[in-house]
């Protein structure tokens, strides 16, 4: 078990390192990195300062080592657009808003998708199942940003039930969280359904019925725990999808999180902030993965006792 987590941790660090290479590389793929790193209107003086600060006169690998050693300490330099702030400081200040949004979206998707998926599998080929499948299909086909706009139009503009944008209070959280979680609901529901169908077919479920166990216990104790492993795997992958989905949704709802910061920073060519965001997103994603891996081990003793 310990060994398993250590392996996963090492793999995460490896991924993070690759990410740092990408971030470092991106700024340098097109000729003079200064062009990429700074807005066009930057003065010659500023260019020179950056060039010296980043050691851009030195060979590439030295530059990378400098970048890496600073990055490890969370130092991505100062923001260009938001003068007087460090890139990392800006990102960390905005991170809670994004985590709040993503967290609620995850909660919505689990609370809805898990029972719906289980019921769809148990009531396979009934009306409930067909409707569930259609809802799931629809969910996977809607662009989240469009859904957000339409929801905003209906519930905020036409009905006036909810505020259109901004952060603060539950009422402002509902629309963005639903828009962000919608896709997840669809995907997880489908995964749970198919995983449940496989489990319901298995021999050990037959044995629990032979024992005389009630159907309720067969499903919610024996099947769900086995079936949960599949959507969990997916979840690890899609923690990243949620994070990036927030870039889109935050911009629709003017949610003051990292996603919105990212777009603003990119539009202002504030590369220091962008780099910090990419690395932070990757870290959050990898951390989510690690948690999923640990949950995995909790659910499946075959991993725990490896």
């Amino acid at each position: 078990m310990q060994r398993y987590i250590i392996i996963r941790l090492l793999q995460s660090l490896l991924a993070l390192w690759v990410m740092s290479l990408i971030v470092f590389g991106l700024a340098r793929v097109t000729g003079d990195p200064i062009d990429a790193l700074l807005p066009i209107e930057a003065t010659l003086e500023e260019r020179e300062t950056i060039r010296r600060n980043w050691g851009l006169d030195k060979p590439l690998h030295t530059q990378y080592l400098v970048f890496l050693s600073k990055a490890v300490r969370g130092d991505f330099g100062n923001s260009w657009k938001w003068q007087g702030h460090t890139a990392m400081g800006l990102v960390l200040a905005r991170l809670p808003a994004t985590l709040e949004l993503a967290g609620v979206a995850i909660a919505i998707s689990i609370v809805l998708a898990l029972p719906l998926g289980v019921l769809a599998a148990v009531k396979k080929d009934t009306l409930f199942d067909s409707v569930g499948k259609m809802v799931a299909l629809l969910g996977q086909s809607l662009p989240a940003f469009w859904l957000g706009i339409i929801l905003m139009w209906i519930f905020a503009v036409m009905l006036g039930w909810l505020p259109t944008s901004g952060r603060g209070g539950i009422s402002r959280l509902i629309l963005p969280a639903v828009s962000l979680g919608w896709f997840q609901v669809a995907v997880i529901m489908r995964l749970v359904r198919s995983a449940m169908l496989d489990v319901l077919d298995s021999e050990f479920v037959k044995l629990t019925r032979v024992k005389g166990l009630s159907e309720w216990k067969v499903i919610w104790k024996h099947c769900l725990r086995n079936a949960a492993i599949v959507p969990l795997t997916y979840f690890a992958i899609n923690a990243g999808v949620l994070m990036t989905g927030s870039v889109v949704i935050e911009n629709v709802f003017v949610w003051p999180g990292t996603g919105r910061l990212a777009l603003e920073a990119i539009q202002a060519r504030d590369f220091q902030v962008v780099q910090a965001i990419v690395i932070i997103f990757a870290t959050v994603f990898l951390f989510a993965n690690l948690i999923v891996d640990i949950l995995y081990a909790y659910l499946d003793p075959r991993i725990r006792y490896q």
Binding site: Q11, L14, A15, V18, M19, I22, V23, L26, A27, V29, T30, A36, D125, S130, L137, L138, Q140, S141, L142, P143, A144, F145, W146, I149, I150, M152, W153, V157, I237, G240, M243, T244, G245, V247, V248, N251, V252, A262, L263, I266, Q267, R269, F271, V274, I277, V278, F281, A282, F285, L286, N289
Partner: protein, 298 residues
């Protein structure tokens, strides 16, 4: 839909239990129809189909509502945007981008992903570990963010969009193909091929690849939908194909701020995306039922 007998195929397995497959879906006629008329035909023949120039509008005709709403005209059946461009024509031209991006991205990532997945699954060991690590990393990349960074660094273009989608998609193919290859590799017909002296290349090409084609078809169909969604999100954020080329995503972005006064600008391109992706998903599901070897008599 109501049927007295469950639609299913009995299958005698070696252990003799009659197994039941999922009820087979009806032929996806409507989804195919939607795909042809919303994506394929407009994508191929946009200049002949579009009633108006998608880029140049007339300011006199700005913010016209669709034909069935009061104030709408038959000249612009789906209305116009704030600079008087015809929404219908822009949707027809937008299909080109969706079609081109998804086909190119699917093809490139499919070839790369399949080849790597086959090798990882077949040879195993360190090569497998290496490729799967890359897959994990690639699946963990914050794609949209990365795309934005790309665009900031290189500039928005068709190539950027294709590169970004490929970076995400190849890994899904590789993962899927590797998984299938792992299980196919253990089957006795591979051992028989090795006994007969078949080379690794021949085994991968003649024995494993034909057995993953079905999965690939299903995956590709479903992925086209995913690419269209991704491309539209990038366009929406201004990181897709640069303006003034009309794309469904950028049209929605145009309509966002005007949603209160001119809901149709954002509504119709969104519906186009939804219907296209929904049709692709339905088609993929149908293909899965039809082609997935697990559900067929082998």
């Amino acid at each position: 839909m109501a049927q007295v007998l469950p639609e299913s195929v009995p299958r005698s397995t070696p252990d003799g239990i009659v197994q039941e497959t999922l009820p087979s879906r009806q032929f996806p006629g409507i989804p195919l129809f939607i795909l042809v008329f919303l994506l394929v035909l407009p994508g191929l023949f946009a200049p002949y189909l579009a009633p108006h120039n998608p880029i140049r509008g007339s300011l006199r005709a700005r913010l016209q509502p669709p034909v069935w709403v009061q104030g709408g005209t038959i000249t612009h059946p789906l209305g116009t945007d704030k600079v008087g461009r015809d929404i219908l024509s822009r949707i027809i031209y937008g299909a080109r981008i969706s079609l081109a991006v998804s086909l190119v991205a699917i093809l490139v990532s499919g070839v790369i992903g399949t080849a790597l997945g086959l090798m990882a699954g077949y040879f195993g060991g360190r090569l497998d570990a290496l490729i799967m690590r890359l897959v994990d990393i690639s699946l963990g990349l914050p794609v949209i963010l990365l795309a934005l960074v790309f665009v900031a660094a290189i500039g928005a273009s068709f190539i950027t969009v294709v590169v970004v989608t490929t970076v995400l998609l190849w890994a899904r193919y590789a993962r899927q193909v590797r998984g299938e290859t792992l299980s196919i590799r253990e089957r006795d017909f591979i051992a028989r091929a090795r006994v007969a002296g078949a080379s690794h290349f021949r085994i991968m090409l003649r024995y494993i690849f034909p057995n993953v084609i079905n999965t690939l078809t299903v995956l590709a169909t479903l992925q086209i939908g995913a690419v269209i969604l991704l491309e539209s999100a990038l366009s929406f954020l201004g990181a897709g194909i640069p303006r003034p080329t009309p794309t469904w995503g950028s049209m929605i972005a145009d309509g966002r701020d005007l949603i209160v006064v001119a809901w149709w600008i954002a509504m119709f391109p969104g519906l186009a995306i939804m219907l296209t992706v929904l049709s692709l998903n339905l088609l993929g599901d149908w293909l899965r039922d039809r082609l997935d070897p697990k559900l067929r008599n082998i």
